[in-house]
Amino acid sequence: MNICMLTWEYPPRIVGGIARHCEGLAKALAKMGYIVHVITLDFPGAPQYEEVGGVKIHRTSVELGHPSFIAWVFIFNHFMEKKIAMISKDVKFDIIHIHDWLVALAGIATKHYLKLPLILTLHSTEFGRASGLSNPDSYLIDGVEWWATYESKRVIVTSNSMKKEVEEHFHLPHSKIDVIPNAIDTSRYEVKVDREAVKKRYGIAPDERIVLFVGRLAPQKGVEYLIKATPKIVNSHPNARIVIVGDGWLKDYLWNLTISSGYSHRISFLGFLSDSELIELTLSSDVLVIPSVYEPFGIVALEGMAAGIPVVASNVGGLAEIIEHDKTGVLVYAGDPNSIAWGVNRVLSDPKYAFWLVENAKRKVREVYSWDAVARKTAEVYEKSSGGA
């Protein structure tokens, strides 16, 4: 079976979790014998075409531009369509699989001219990301998302909470939605690191305990609540250092919040890190905090669990499904600095408790969240959807 997978991000072009999701899924499907063509956007230094891990990666150059983000998205979808049309002269695709609204227009057009079934994985919704719809762009994105769910034969979401959200918001039939979780390659975390050397690289003293945040600096990630929790964490653990990895449009606001908190000496912003740097830092950390206020899945939780560090996460969305409170991590109230500080202090104060959480979490990640399991479930969706649009 030939799969045509569309995504606006695929390594080395990494925006958020979609790139890693598509890479893990595509490679696992290829391992099962599926022929996977990934159609994505170009990135400096990456070839227009290459095969990696058995996956055929086609990168699209966008030959026109416009200052508006929305216009740019519509333009790159046109060039993706053109790329697919050219590839389909030689390849007979059986399924089109799109990831999120950004590639929906190309996917829907391709569905109609190649008369193929369309599968949509909806990683999040505009309604959730933006905490409601408040401007014309958001309304348009929401409309494209609804349209994509309507045009698709099956809709895949990564958690039960996301299924509920999609059912309610888009009035989608319950039976049209499949829940298939995200996954992680745990072997990437089976490396030895020199924790002192890693800490030194980022100006962190050997005796400091790293309270790590990883993610986009956007409101939905709730970083501001971790910054507000810092005084209570540092009062209990004076050697705690909050380390924030990631970038985003909220950065200036968060930096100003850090300055005004009076605890800027205990908070570090490291910006974007490469995969290998991030793995080393995660393995050198003492606790991972995920203070999100909206999180359809929360793949970063799996990364912390695989790395063997205790996870303290908000009790929202997919996080509440991944983490069993007091067994594989600690769940805290979203948007509540006191609750976050309580969770962090709890694992930092009790090494035996932290060890118990970590051992349980590692076991769960290995058993439930493997790419092979996710690919098998996705393949089932392909098989029951194949045979015409």
Partner: protein
């Protein structure tokens, strides 16, 4: 680029997003200040001010063709822009 809330992003980062959406993402796609100013509808003096900040942050690089400076976004600049979209 669309903005999620009233929290402002800096002018130069907003400008960087516009450059990205215009497709100036490789040396061979580079544009002069005049061309950038025309496409973005930003005055040349303001465009130059933003470009200088972006050059300093290494989000933008410059090449000189026939004595004329042409600007394009670096890989770090693209990553910065992508982190703005969610």
């Amino acid at each position: 680029m669309y903005r999620r809330s009233s929290t402002p992003i800096s002018d130069e980062i907003y400008f960087l997003c516009m450059l990205h959406n215009l497709g100036i993402t490789a040396p061979e796609k580079s544009l002069t200040i005049e061309e950038i100013s025309r496409w973005t509808a930003v005055e040349p003096s303001k465009a130059k001010e933003n470009l200088n900040k972006l050059l300093k942050a290494r989000y933008v690089d410059v090449r000189i063709v026939s004595g004329v400076k042409r600007y394009f976004i670096t890989a770090d600049g693209i990553r910065k822009v992508l982190s703005m979209y969610s």
